[in-house]
């Protein structure tokens, strides 16, 4: 099991957070802390790049909805990018794709905030 890691980059007004490893109950509080820190800085436009994500647990999936909800209350959003097939199948199965925007291109994810 790979350790969970994240790296943050800025794309204009959008924060791009690259996730890698395993996002489970054990590692999830670290992402929560990071996202909450962005919210406190007034950054509500966030893209989570999941390309290197090996695993996401059910609590992590549920919390993504919470992040998106908080961001939308401030005219932002939390969107997913490069979701691996095995993870996409899970979020689609559970209907999360109806409430979370998923992109396959970084430019598409970043530019989608400008179109709001």
């Amino acid at each position: 099991m790979k350790d969970f890691r994240f790296e943050r980059e800025t794309r204009g007004a959008v924060q791009l957070v690259r996730l890698s490893g395993s996002l489970d109950m054990y590692s999830f509080p670290r992402l929560e802390t990071q996202v909450n820190a962005l919210f406190q800085q007034g950054q509500y436009c966030i893209v989570l790049d999941c390309r290197e994500l090996d695993y996401i647990g059910s609590a992590g999936l549920g919390a993504l909805i919470g992040f998106a909800k908080q961001a939308r209350q401030q005219a932002g959003d939390v969107k997913l990018l490069n979701v691996p097939d095995r993870i996409y199948k899970i979020i689609e199965l559970l209907g999360f794709t109806k409430v979370l925007e998923v992109h396959s291109e970084e430019s598409s994810a970043v530019d989608s905030f400008a179109k709001k």
Partner: protein, 184 residues
């Protein structure tokens, strides 16, 4: 550990149910465990021993299914319990984070030989589709959503501190489940 050794194995002796988790316990393999546990509890089994010696990790749905077993045992008879044995530091932290260390009996001694061990002649069977790396049957979206909802409701019943943690997830799953039922 070979891939084929992964999964959930169960055995029952003297009304005690033994569960061995090898690999991950997740929402993808929680359903067969919940089904088996319900059957055994309906048969009168009053104690569960869950061996996590080879468990790489558990998600909240799996832990919620265990919590459901623990809550039902406690409801049926207050002295019955679910015991978790051979708990790694990482898994112990998960249990503590969700407050389940107060619902379960926990052996966190690192695996004392003989502790929580079933009788030598206990027959174990591996639950079907319990190895999340080689699932053969596609998950059903409705039963999976209901399983996740029930599991997270259990976690919130087990410890009120879990309510804010899972509020958004359970709200989403409840709306989805209720809409499906209303749509027929």
């Amino acid at each position: 550990m070979t891939e084929s050794a992964k999964g959930i194995s169960v055995g029952c002796a003297n009304k005690i149910v033994y569960v061995r988790v090898v690999g991950r316990g997740t929402f993808q393999n929680s359903q067969p465990l919940r089904r088996y546990a319900m059957e055994r509890m309906n048969d009168g089994c009053s104690e569960f021993v869950v061996d996590l010696a080879n468990c790489d990790g558990m998600d909240s749905t799996f832990l919620g299914v265990l919590a459901g077993i623990g809550l039902r045992l406690r409801q049926d008879r207050s002295d019955d319990k679910l015991h978790v044995v051979n708990v790694s530091a990482r898994n112990l932290q998960l249990l503590q984070t969700l407050g389940l260390d107060r619902l379960f009996g926990i052996d966190d001694t690192g695996g004392n030989p003989g502790n929580g061990q079933p009788p030598a002649d206990t027959q174990f069977q591996r639950l079907p589709d319990s190895d999340v790396t080689t699932l053969t049957t596609p998950l059903n979206k409705n039963t999976t959503a209901e399983l996740m909802l029930d599991a997270h409701d259990n976690l919130m019943r087990a410890d009120q501190r879990n309510a804010p943690r899972f509020r958004d997830l359970t709200k989403f799953l409840r709306q989805k489940t209720e809409k499906r039922k209303a749509d027929g």
